[in-house]
Point group: C2
Chain length 316, copies 2
């Protein structure tokens, strides 16, 4: 089992590589939400990232770290949506072909996002096994470079740049809350945050219906993924050995929230921040709003991971 | 007929008065929307203003320009919603009572916003005559200070600070597009913009179903308001003599858009900017998207006036 290091240095290198190719996103504060929480909340708005989600960071870092030779047949990935769009966008910036394997129950908005960046969509059954099999076949047949949505140190380092930016802008955070699905963002951001501020408490939040990370974390043994059942479609992935290892070393706790709490949190964020965030992005704030975490009086960083929503199918 | 001047100087004074009591809002750009328009669009995001709409500027300027003696019985206004919430908020900051006359068909979100800032809501029939009569009665009975939603030079100067901020941030705009209802924002922003950049073309955009400003502007005679019929509930007010005079002197053109174009524009802005804007706020962009204006190749400022939306009643 191979664990190439993800460190503050590889994250700083990722930042140099993606600068000008992704956006430095703003940090929002809101009086009403602070009053509701009894805390100072700092929302890092990756819904404003290129392509509408943080995934642009990891995908762009990976594509621009590959050599021209490695990219001669383009790139391939499987994705529930946002990573696919991000990889298509990065490939277009680099001038290479992108083929994206997506489950056939993906939202229209996410399919359109991939195609909008020139990515070729290949639909498969909505299981991890089907996704992996089709992607592996494409790689074997064409020699394309595979860029995993999270089990890749270059992707993880790219996502870690969110933590770098947030801690530079708000250095004295007490807490940092982030969602965990496959663990690419959680592990990368945790590495950056703990390196920059060792006293920070990093908490990953997960939907109850996709709680493999929580089970793995509390048992100390990587648990197999069950069939995930949650409205937070971006968090249905399961930890890999790599992300599990990084999370054990750098994350302080994992808590879970219900789908009901997620929808309520999403609605509250829309109402008060006046921004569009998707279900998966509302997960960390759901832990605050539903009192899974006691953060009163503290300075709390919260990562809002994306805003790719099908506006015809709102969950309330 | 009295026309106390609204000038760049009174707008600068308003900016000093409201600083720290309102927000300096960000200017957003978006690659996709630029490509769709073939132009450089700069969106001034007043949906992020305190209370979710630009109205905080004018109301705060008016309340803090009044003396303690004038405020002894508090303030009164009539409003379809955003000005009411803004006045309630400004009154609370100043520590005085606010009574807000609102039509009984106001959205729940707008009623809650007023009450959330401690304002007292008095409902009336949804006609201008009913609103004015009840507000006048409250003023006569109590001696409260009346702060009109737009027919007041202090309110107009407050709204003009939007133009001041936008032109400071993006000085070389070719066009400036803004919505017009009662004309408070349109006249204040036009005064600021033309003083700072005489070559700028200022275009006000109005729903076809509430086109009194367009009819007045093209005939040169202040037209009486018809019964307005538009989804853009913030733009149902009619010009006053004061705002009509300022608009004639400082606005270059008024164009109209259909409700269908407004809803389409609102949806496009949500989808790509990932922000919540209300129907009225989508009106200027609707003129670009529906090709009522030819702006290709130009630098275009667009004011997004607010984001107070009833999330249970989206118009698509």
């Amino acid at each position: 089992m191979q664990h190439p290091d993800v460190t503050l240095e590889t994250i700083r290198a990722a930042r140099e590589r993606i600068a000008g190719r992704t956006r430095r996103t703003p940090v929002f504060e809101n009086e009403t939400l602070n009053e509701l929480a009894g805390a100072q909340l700092y929302f890092k708005c990756e819904n404003f990232q290129a392509g509408g989600a943080f995934k642009a960071r990891g995908a762009t870092n990976a594509v621009f770290a590959l050599s021209a030779g490695e990219l001669r047949a383009g790139v391939v990935t499987h994705s529930s949506g946002n990573h696919g769009a991000a990889l298509a966008r990065a490939a277009r910036l680099r001038g290479v072909r992108a083929r994206i394997v997506m489950p056939d129950n993906s939202s229209r908005a996410k399919l359109e996002a991939v195609r909008g960046f020139g990515g070729e969509v290949l639909l498969c059954e909505p299981t991890l096994a089907a996704r992996e099999a089709l992607a592996a076949q494409l790689v074997a047949d064409s020699g394309a470079a595979f860029v995993h949505p999270y089990d890749d140190p270059r992707v993880i380092a790219g996502q870690g740049t969110i933590g770098l930016e947030l801690l530079e802008e708000v250095p004295e955070l007490d807490w940092l809350l982030l969602p965990v699905g496959g663990g690419g963002l959680a592990s990368g951001v945790a590495v950056a945050a703990k390196a920059m501020r060792p006293t920070i408490r990093v908490v990953a939040v997960e939907p109850i219906g996709a709680d493999d990370a929580q089970r793995s974390f509390s048992s100390g043994v990587l648990s197999p993924a069950r069939q995930p059942a949650t409205i937070a479609d971006g968090l249905r992935g399961a930890l890999s050995a790599r992300t599990f290892d990084l999370i054990r070393r750098h994350v302080d706790a994992i808590v879970t929230v219900s789908d009901e709490a997620i929808v309520q949190a999403m609605r509250t964020l829309w109402q008060h921040l006046k921004i569009i965030v998707e279900t998966s992005a509302a997960v960390p704030y759901a832990a605050v709003q539903s009192h899974q975490l006691e953060v009163s009086g503290a300075r709390v960083g919260i990562i809002l991971t994306g805003g790719n929503v099908d506006l015809d199918e709102l969950p309330w």
